[in-house]
Subunit: 195 residues, 2 copies
């Protein structure tokens, strides 16, 4: 695989999805990453039951868990809040594990992108994490005076809701860590499709 010149970002917060009966996450000083995901997170595991994101399977087929880590960016959070005309969107509401700054259009990073952290962790991205109503509902709860904010969020957050990733090498990630991002140069298969 051919990569672009690495780019560099910064970890602004680290979180774990450990809130009972909620998809939300809560901030930590540091998170521990095993091959199976973020320790203590409800998405931890080598496999998981497939859902609507996997149209090629019957629902709840046990498949490899490649959605172990959820990564979002400060810049895209702010952009989405501005589109919705609300004063803030919190990473906790997204159930995010990592909030990063300094990476342009994080959500557009292609599958196969590698994110390398100083304490050993390397994550491989799957591409865009499509926004869903689970987050939309939490956003709505936080702005009770706004009508229809859930569906509005789902629409506004397209191409801005971050990526998911799987663990290629374990370790730990802390606030203020520097992250190096290796982005593969890909072919434009859409060109082939249209031929």
């Amino acid at each position: 695989m051919n990569y672009f010149k690495p780019i560099v970002g910064k970890v602004v917060s680290v979180l774990v999805c450990d809130v009972p009966r909620s998809i939300a996450s809560s901030p930590k000083d540091e998170i521990l990453i095993h091959m199976a995901g973020v320790v203590g997170d409800k998405h931890y595991g080598s496999t998981f039951p497939s859902n609507a994101r996997y149209p090629m399977y019957p629902r709840r087929t046990e498949i490899r868990n490649s959605r172990q880590v959820s990564i979002i960016s400060v810049e895209e959070l702010e952009k989405t809040a501005a589109l919705l005309n609300i004063d803030r969107l919190d990473p906790e509401w997204y159930g995010a594990n990592l909030v990063i700054s300094g990476i342009t259009s994080l959500t557009e990073l292609p599958p196969g992108t590698r994110l390398t952290f100083p304490n050993g962790v390397v994550l491989v991205g799957n591409g865009e994490n499509d926004p869903c109503m689970n987050v939309g509902r939490i956003v709505q709860e936080n702005f009770p005076d706004r009508k229809n904010l859930g569906p509005e969020f789902v629409k506004a957050a397209i191409s801005l809701r971050g990526i998911t990733a799987w663990v290629e090498h374990p370790g730990s990630i802390a606030k203020s860590d520097i992250v190096q991002v290796n982005i593969p140069r890909l072919y434009d298969y859409a060109k082939r499709i249209s031929e």
Copy 2:
């Protein structure tokens, strides 16, 4: 993830890398696929030591094995042989596990592409498998009258040597199986890089 309309190919041969002291593979009627890869294949395993393909790691770091299955196409084999002006290239020489027909520009399938087989197997592609001298040397051995064929192969096979993939769901694959290919619609991150 948004996918293109699925496209369909056919499995022409299935092979296992079980040749002692060689990267070559040998043809079978059927191959068994576990979460850790192709049963009996030397690339079987949940992890493996990183090599030159992983510039972000010190050599031989134990990382998740995402290169479990090697997939090539009849059409690209023929195209590469024509470019080299030789009468054939055998899938065994590539150490391939699957030879497929009917998928245009297989090597250009982006990371995140899902290949679904009738007996349960779903594989997720990593994108291009860069050609290397290990295959080049075997090609050279088969055409002893040609000078410099190894390096010529490595150059000619760029964008034609197929892809690697990891197992999302286990099962088995047999000769003549139909494969459904789900190709993700990706952003063009190169555009962001150049901004």
